[in-house]
């Protein structure tokens, strides 16, 4: 089946479908301006947003400035390119491009030698200047396009913590990282992915903390990608993860620069993708998906408690409906008598068995949640009202579902929102359905088998070579301090095993504050 699918969707090799303009792109720039212009015109036929502006340098040399409307800073082009070019005087002995490079007040000027380079620069918003009698073109770094400002990330809210989030612009995102990590050891490797979108990626890591093998592996997997477009970092995630069929995300995404930096400091690699505020973090473990940035910004006792609450929520959101189904169907003796009577009373008129009831309610809940996410905000409120009224009130009084079931579904829903990573929450929510069915068939045994199955799966997968369940299985006592609790900062002396082994200690020992320090 798999083989059939692959052969069915096999792409023709790249050379088969290369358009004519690709051949032109390989050509080096000619010394005759007219030739170059003709080629550029051929490439950019039917592209009215590409502007060709003819001008003269030193009143005699013909030149053309090419830029794409809306990608470049028009004022700056006017002030620091077109106006000065008109006043330049060139001695016969000098090469034109060196004179221009020396005289213009543009921060960065690049020399271009081929049509392909010109296209590259144009696409990234840099105006290109071509002139007669010279086989060298120049591009000016005057790119500027409309972009969103740095705003508070909506998907990962914190009470205490930085309020800035990544934006869609790669340049802004790298600067956000660099502002937090001022060391020159923060390295960023640029890459380009996507045949048509030519999306820029940056692989960021801290030299000497991140393992070389990990960086090589990330780069190797990224270089393998050959698709026509990358619109979101999810495309990249899906093409480089270890277990593509798994429900569980093996790469974390974040909108928060502080989360990205914290992970860089733990020896992980961050992949920034142009056009999306979501940066990818690899490798991750299951437990890192249950941690929130704010765990480290609140008092450690509180954070540790919240972590435990979160683990409980994980279990509840995975198992509560199926436990309810299993106990009511097979193990009624486990329910305390008084509670059993009240449940039995409310279930008296219900026409469905518990499994069906649970499935109906869970599916309704998921539908409401999905509808609430997709709809415009104004209607979203209406959906929640309809959902709350229809499901919560009317269905119970009509005797379709029982009130305890509504409670179970509500608690499950709330618990599933306690998982800080949306993608991990999805995995848990999806697993819930098969477990409910198994609970209906085999009772508690079915639930346990499903849990074992899930745990085996989680123990099997790896994320970039790191076992997904570490530090629990395989057990690493040293890393438990950040899993079973959030140890106080002065105890978090070592980096996590397997990612930060190259530079084991992250701080000096003995930083525990002490009221006597001042008098010593």
């Amino acid at each position: 089946m798999k083989r059939l699918l692959q052969s069915g969707f096999r792409h023709p090799s790249a050379s088969d479908e290369a358009p004519d303009s690709l051949h032109i792109q390989q050509v080096p720039l000619s010394a005759v301006l007219a030739d170059n212009l003709q080629r550029m015109h051929t490439i950019y036929t039917n592209c009215p947003d590409v502007v060709f502006r003819s001008l003269y340098i030193d009143r005699s040399i013909q030149a053309t400035l090419i830029y794409i409307e809306g990608l470049s800073n028009n004022d700056a082009i006017d002030k620091s390119v077109i106006a000065p070019l008109a006043q330049i005087t060139i001695q016969p002995a000098e090469a034109i491009h060196t004179v221009i490079e020396q005289q213009l007040t543009v921060p960065k000027i690049t020399e271009l030698h081929s049509i392909a380079e010109c296209i590259d620069q144009l696409s990234s918003g840099c105006p290109v200047l071509l002139f007669d009698h010279n086989a060298v073109g120049l591009s000016f770094n005057l790119a500027k396009w409309e972009k969103r400002g740095v705003e508070e990330p909506t998907a990962e809210a914190v009470v205490r913590g930085p309020r800035e989030g990544f934006t869609e612009s790669l340049g802004v995102n790298t600067s956000l990282l660099r502002r937090k990590l001022r060391t020159p050891q923060l390295k960023m490797m640029p890459l380009k992915v996507g045949r048509f979108t030519q999306t820029e990626l940056v692989v960021a890591f801290i030299d000497e903390i991140a393992e070389q093998a990990l960086i090589d592996e990330v780069l190797r997997r990224l270089e393998r990608i050959d698709i026509d477009g990358v619109l979101e970092s999810a495309y990249i995630e899906e093409l480089i993860e270890d277990a593509p069929h798994s429900l569980f995300p093996q790469i974390m995404n974040t909108e928060r620069p502080d989360v990205a930096v914290a992970n860089l400091l733990e020896g992980r690699v961050v992949i920034l993708v142009d056009g999306t505020p979501f940066a990818l973090i690899a490798p991750v473990t299951f437990y890192s998906l249950l941690q929130s940035a704010e765990d480290y910004y609140q008092r450690y006792t509180f954070s540790s408690t919240i972590r435990w609450l979160r683990y409980a929520a994980l279990v509840i959101s995975l198992l509560l409906p199926s436990l309810y189904v299993a106990t009511l169907t097979y193990h009624q003796e486990m329910i305390p008598t008084s509670l059993f009577f009240s449940i039995a009373k409310s279930r008296e008129e219900i026409p469905f068995p518990v499994v069906i009831e649970a499935l109906i309610m869970e599916i309704t809940f998921e539908a409401l949640r999905e509808a609430g996410v997709r709809l415009p905000k104004q209607i979203g409120a209406a959906v929640s009202i309809v959902g709350a009224l229809v499901i919560g009130q009317a269905a119970v009084s009509a005797g379709i579902v029982s009130a305890p079931m509504v409670m179970v579904v509500a608690i499950t829903g709330i618990s599933s929102f306690m998982i800080p990573r949306y993608s991990a929450g999805i995995a848990i929510r999806m697993l819930r359905f098969p477990i409910i069915m198994l609970a209906g068939v085999l009772g508690l045994l079915g639930i346990m088998l499903a849990v074992i199955f899930t745990v085996v799966h989680l123990c099997t997968i790896r994320s970039f070579g790191v076992p997904y369940m570490s530090p629990m299985g395989p057990m690493k006592a040293r890393d438990m301090k950040d899993v079973l609790m959030r140890a106080p900062l002065w105890m978090l002396n070592t980096r996590p095993h397997l990612t930060g082994d190259g530079n084991k200690y992250r701080q000096a020992p003995g930083q525990k504050p002490d009221s006597n320090r001042g008098s010593e």
């Binding site: 088998l449 199955f453 395989p474």
Partner: protein, 366 residues
């Protein structure tokens, strides 16, 4: 080596603990109570001697052949043909004992909880889950053991603590009323469980810190012994002489638990957690068969064998006994000698042989 996975000595201990205990904790209290009576708590101590000896034999054999399992080195010790034959018998033996374990599990679940579910369904679903585990190799078996053992252990401690109000320590007096003999006789059956430690010959070749193998193997034996002693004591404190008449004293004990007069009858919950331990046990045996078969046939990979062998296991477990009574009878009469001879005596003979061989080779060399 057929499995490129690596485990640590501690992981081995994590695997072996439930591998011995999962079924022992259910059956041993009643079986030992029958012969040892009031001194049933001493029996596991005597029986554990077998465990220590078996671990010693296994690690010693591993010293001679560091990268080989039981199936492989027996060929080297007794020659190709006899070794192949011995390996074949071992595989059959492991198939049989694993099928018995699966049957014990199935009988327990069907007898106590899912009365109307066909036993084949209960056993087949378990084997399927274990097959998934075994396919992952020794690494995954080790990791899943590390995930489940703490939970099972926590549950065990909880049960014992919650039972404290109902325990009557006076039940165990007088100690050694009839001398040592009853407790020694009672230790016969548990030796079968302790000799299961021979399975570490399949884990030792995959170990990163092999020098710690003996140490952690011994620790595993000691903790298992301690756990069975506590279980035996707790069930005798609770039921007294009744212990021997119950089939699963621990599960009956779980029925006594009552938290705040609200949570009661938790035995189904206890069963669910206990399934986690059994899962590790069956996986370990299952892994030994699958890896052993691949080594015996000199295959390059053991994974394709997993599902077919799982199917055979379910079949044999249905055939192995007509009902639970026969199974318990087999376990309490024939099995000690059967298990002991395969799991301890033959390996001991192999060790003796290789020691004599290497000594004579040494003396010839000098």
């Amino acid at each position: 080596m057929i499995d490129k996975g690596k485990i640590s000595a501690i992981q081995m201990a994590y695997i072996m603990y439930p591998t011995i205990l999962a079924t022992a904790i259910l059956l041993v209290p009643a079986i030992t109570a029958k012969t040892a009576g009031r001194d049933l708590w001493l029996s596991p101590v005597w029986a554990s001697i077998t465990g220590f000896i078996t671990v010693f034999i296994a690690t010693r054999l591993n010293n001679y052949y560091p990268d080989m399992s039981l199936i492989e080195f027996s060929e080297h010790i007794v020659g190709r043909w006899i070794g192949k034959l011995l390996g074949f018998f071992y595989l059959l033996f492991f198939l049989h004992i694993t099928a018995i374990i699966i049957r014990e599990y199935g009988e327990f679940i069907v007898g106590s909880f899912l009365r109307n579910t066909p036993i084949s369904v209960v056993m087949a679903t378990m084997v399927l889950v274990c097959a998934f585990n075994v396919r992952g190799g020794v690494e995954v078996v080790g990791r899943t053991a590390q995930m489940f053992v703490p939970i099972v252990l926590f549950l065990f401690i909880c049960i014992v603590i919650l039972l404290i109000p109902d325990l009557h320590p006076k039940n165990m007096l007088p100690i050694l009323e009839h001398g040592l003999k009853p407790s020694l006789m009672g230790s016969l059956v548990p030796t079968g469980w302790f000799s299961e430690f021979i399975l570490i010959t399949f884990l030792l070749p995959c170990m990163t810190d092999r020098n710690k193998g003996t140490k952690w193997g011994m620790i595993a034996v000691a903790t298992v012994m301690l756990t069975i002693v506590i279980t035996n004591l707790a069930s005798y404190f609770l039921f007294g002489a009744l212990t021997s008449t119950l089939v699963y004293p621990v599960m009956v004990a779980a029925r006594y638990i009552s938290i705040a007069d609200f949570f009661e009858h938790l035995e189904a919950f206890v069963m669910a957690i206990w399934v986690g331990g059994t899962f590790v046990k069956i996986s370990m045996f299952y892994y030994a068969i699958v890896a052993g078969t691949a080594q015996w046939l000199k295959l390059s990979d053991f994974r394709p064998l997993t599902l077919p062998i799982g199917f055979i296991l379910v079949m044999i477990s249905i055939w192995t006994a007509p009902n639970l009574q026969e199974l318990v009878h087999f376990l309490s009469s024939v099995s000690p000698f059967y298990f002991l001879s395969f799991q301890t005596v033959i390996p001991a003979l192999l060790l003796l042989l290789i020691m004599v061989k290497s000594r004579s080779r040494q003396s010839r060399g000098t």
